[in-house]
Amino acid sequence: MKEPAHTGRRAREDGELALIVEQVQQGHVQAYSTIIEHFQRPIYLYCYYLLGSREEAEDAAQDIFLKAMEHIGGFRQTVSFSAWLYRIARNHCTDLLKKRSKGFRLFAMYRQQAETAGSGPALTDKVHELLALLTAEERQILLLRALEDYNFEQIAVVVGMNPARVRKKYERLRDKLGRQKRKGEIRLGEPHSDRG
C-alpha cells in the first residue's frame, strides 16, 4: 500500500524520475516501464474516482500512459513529469466525461458499479458518496491531494488555475465534507486509530 509521500522523498523521486524520463527520451523505450510502475496505481485510482468504473479506469490509464509515451519527446521540465502526466490524465478523463455527457448522473452509476466490482465495495462506496457531493474540479483537487500529496501550487499546474483559487476551492470542499460529518449523513470508515 502506498504511503503518503513526504517532501524529501518526493524531491528524490522527482530527480530520479527526471532521469528516467530523459532515458526514455533518448530512445530507451524499456525505461518507460519504470515510469508506468511508479504511477500506475495512483493514475488508475485517479481515473477510477473520476470515471466511476474499474474497467473504464483501466482503459483510461492505459491510454494516458500511451499518450504520454507518444508525446514524451516534447516534454520539457518546466513542470514536473508527474504534473505533466496528471495534466494528460485530467484532459483525458474530462474528454471521456464530456463524451458520456451524463455528468450529473455519473455518481448514481458509480454506486451500482462499486457494488458489483468485487473487492472493497463497501469502502469505495463511501468514497463515491462523498465525492458525489463535490464538483468535478473539487474532486480533481481532492484526488491530487490524496494520491500525490500535492500542494496547492502543484495542483494549480495540473488543473490550470492559480494556486490561490485552488486553495479556496479546497477550503470549500473541506467545509462541504465537514458539514456532512456534522449532519451525520455519511460517516467515514471505522477508524482503528485516532489519526485520520
Binding site: M1, A11, G15, V127, V157, K181
Partner: protein, 383 residues
C-alpha cells in the same frame, strides 16, 4: 470555530486516506508496453517515423537535462518555473516567458521579428507572434486566443492541442534539408502560459544536412484538437544575428574506447552550439546507451560558469559506432578567452542502467571524465 475546522480536517484526511488505500491490484505495464510496440511498428511501417522519433527524443533529452538540478532540489517545480507561474502570463511576450535564456536574450536585445500572422477557425485564433533565427535554430512563438465567446479549447494546453505539425521552407518539405535517411523533428516547448508555446527546430547542417537559407518563408501546418479545419501559417523568417562566431577547433581526446572530437563551436547572441563527434571502439552507440555508458556534456566559460543547456540532437547510423551531436547551450554574454567542455557519465544505482544516483541535495550525480575534458581557446581564435 477551531473545533469545526478540526472536524472538517479529520473528515477530509480520512477520505484522502481511504482514496489512497483503495484496494486495487494494478498491473498495466506489460499491456501498455505491448500496445506501444504495436503502435510504433505500425507507424514505422507507414512512414519510417521511428527514426524521426529518435531524433526528436534525443533532442529533447538535452532540454530535460538542464532543469534536472533545479527540479530535483526543490520538489516539483523549479524555482524559475515557480517564479514565472506567479507572473501574469497574458501580459508577457512568449520569449520573455521561456525558460530558455537564449530566447530571453533574443527578446531583450530585439533579435527577433514579429510576423503577426494568424488564422482563425471555429472562433479560435492561432498566430505566430515572434520568430528568431540565429543560424543554429529557428524558434517561433505561437499563441492561441478564443475570439468568440464560448469558443473554448481551454481543456488542453496549446502544446497538447496542437497536432499533425508539418513544416515547409519556401514550399519545400523541411526534411529536404535533413541528411539522407534522416529527418528534422520540431519541438513544441511549453512556457508557463498554456495558451503559448515555442516551436523550435534546427537544420542538421553539422550532421550532414543542408543549411537553411538566410531568408525564407516558413509554412507551418497543424491541427488543433476539436477543430476540423487545419491551420496554415505563412511566416517570414530571416537571420536575426550578424555577429556569429564560428570556430572549427578539431580538438580530440581519447579515453579508453571513447574518442571525442569537437568539430565546431558556434557562438551567437542567442545560442552556444557545440558539434561533437563521438567514436567508440568495439562498441555500437546503442550498446553504449543500453549499458548505461551514455555521455553528456557540460560547458563552462573561462570564469568557470556553467552554461544552461538548452537542447540537442544527434545522428548515428543504425548499428554504427559514431554519433555526431549538436548540443545547444545558453549564449555567452561576451566572447570568452576560452571555453571548457567537460564530458561526463551519469552515475547509476548499483545493478541498474535506468536509475541514477542522486547526491544529498537530490541532484543527479555525474562523473566527469577527466581524460576527455578539453579547454578550447576562443578569443584569439576568433580574431
Amino acid at each position: 470555530m477551531g473545533n469545526r475546522t478540526a472536524i472538517e480536517d479529520e473528515q477530509v484526511g480520512r477520505l484522502e486516506q481511504l482514496i489512497r488505500d483503495t484496494p486495487a491490484e494494478v498491473d498495466l505495464t506489460r499491456r501498455i508496453m505491448e500496445r506501444y510496440e504495436q503502435k510504433r511498428s505500425q507507424v514505422s511501417r507507414k512512414a519510417g517515423l521511428g527514426r524521426r522519433r529518435w531524433h526528436k527524443a534525443a533532442a529533447a533529452v538535452a532540454a530535460a537535462m538542464l532543469i534536472i538540478t533545479g527540479v530535483a532540489g526543490t520538489g516539483l517545480i523549479s524555482p524559475a518555473a515557480a517564479e514565472a507561474l506567479k507572473q501574469i502570463p497574458g501580459m508577457k511576450r512568449v520569449f520573455q516567458l521561456a525558460g530558455d535564456l537564449g530566447l530571453r536574450a533574443a527578446d531583450e536585445q530585439g533579435l527577433y521579428s514579429e510576423p503577426g500572422v494568424s488564422v482563425t477557425h471555429d472562433g479560435i485564433t492561432v498566430g505566430a507572434t515572434a520568430v528568431t533565427f540565429d543560424g543554429t535554430r529557428v524558434s517561433v512563438g505561437i499563441e492561441r486566443e478564443a475570439v468568440e465567446a464560448g469558443a473554448s479549447v481551454q481543456a488542453h494546453s496549446l502544446q497538447e492541442a496542437m497536432t499533425d505539425v508539418e513544416l515547409s521552407i519556401n514550399g519545400q518539405p523541411l526534411n529536404e534539408y535533413a541528411p539522407a535517411g534522416s529527418s528534422i523533428g520540431p519541438f513544441l516547448f511549453p512556457v508557463p502560459d498554456s495558451d503559448k508555446l515555442v516551436l523550435e527546430f534546427s537544420d542538421l547542417h553539422n550532421q550532414g544536412g543542408q543549411a537553411f537559407p538566410e531568408q525564407f518563408r516558413l509554412g507551418l501546418h497543424f491541427k488543433i484538437a476539436g477543430i476540423e479545419e487545419p491551420f496554415l501559417l505563412d511566416i517570414p523568417v530571416e537571420l536575426n544575428t550578424r555577429d556569429n562566431l564560428v570556430l572549427a577547433p578539431s580538438v580530440v581526446r581519447n579515453n579508453g574506447n571513447v574518442r571525442i572530437q569537437v568539430d565546431k563551436i558556434e557562438l551567437t547572441p542567442v545560442t552556444t552550439n557545440i558539434t561533437t563527434r563521438l567514436e567508440l571502439d568495439g562498441m555500437t552507440i546503442s550498446d553504449m546507451h543500453s549499458s548505461g555508458g551514455s555521455i553528456g556534456f557540460d560547458l563552462f566559460d573561462d570564469q568557470g560558469n556553467k552554461l544552461q543547456m538548452l537542447s540537442g540532437n544527434g545522428t548515428s547510423a543504425t548499428g554504427g559506432s559514431v554519433l555526431v551531436q549538436d548540443s545547444r547551450f545558453a549564449p555567452l554574454a561576451s566572447v570568452p578567452k576560452s571555453i571548457t567542455i567537460k564530458p561526463y557519465h551519469y552515475v547509476y544505482k548499483e545493478n541498474s542502467t535506468s536509475e541514477f544516483q542522486l547526491d544529498a541535495e537530490g541532484h543527479v550525480r555525474v562523473e566527469y571524465i577527466s581524460g576527455l575534458e578539453m579547454t578550447i581557446p576562443v578569443a584569439e581564435a576568433g580574431q
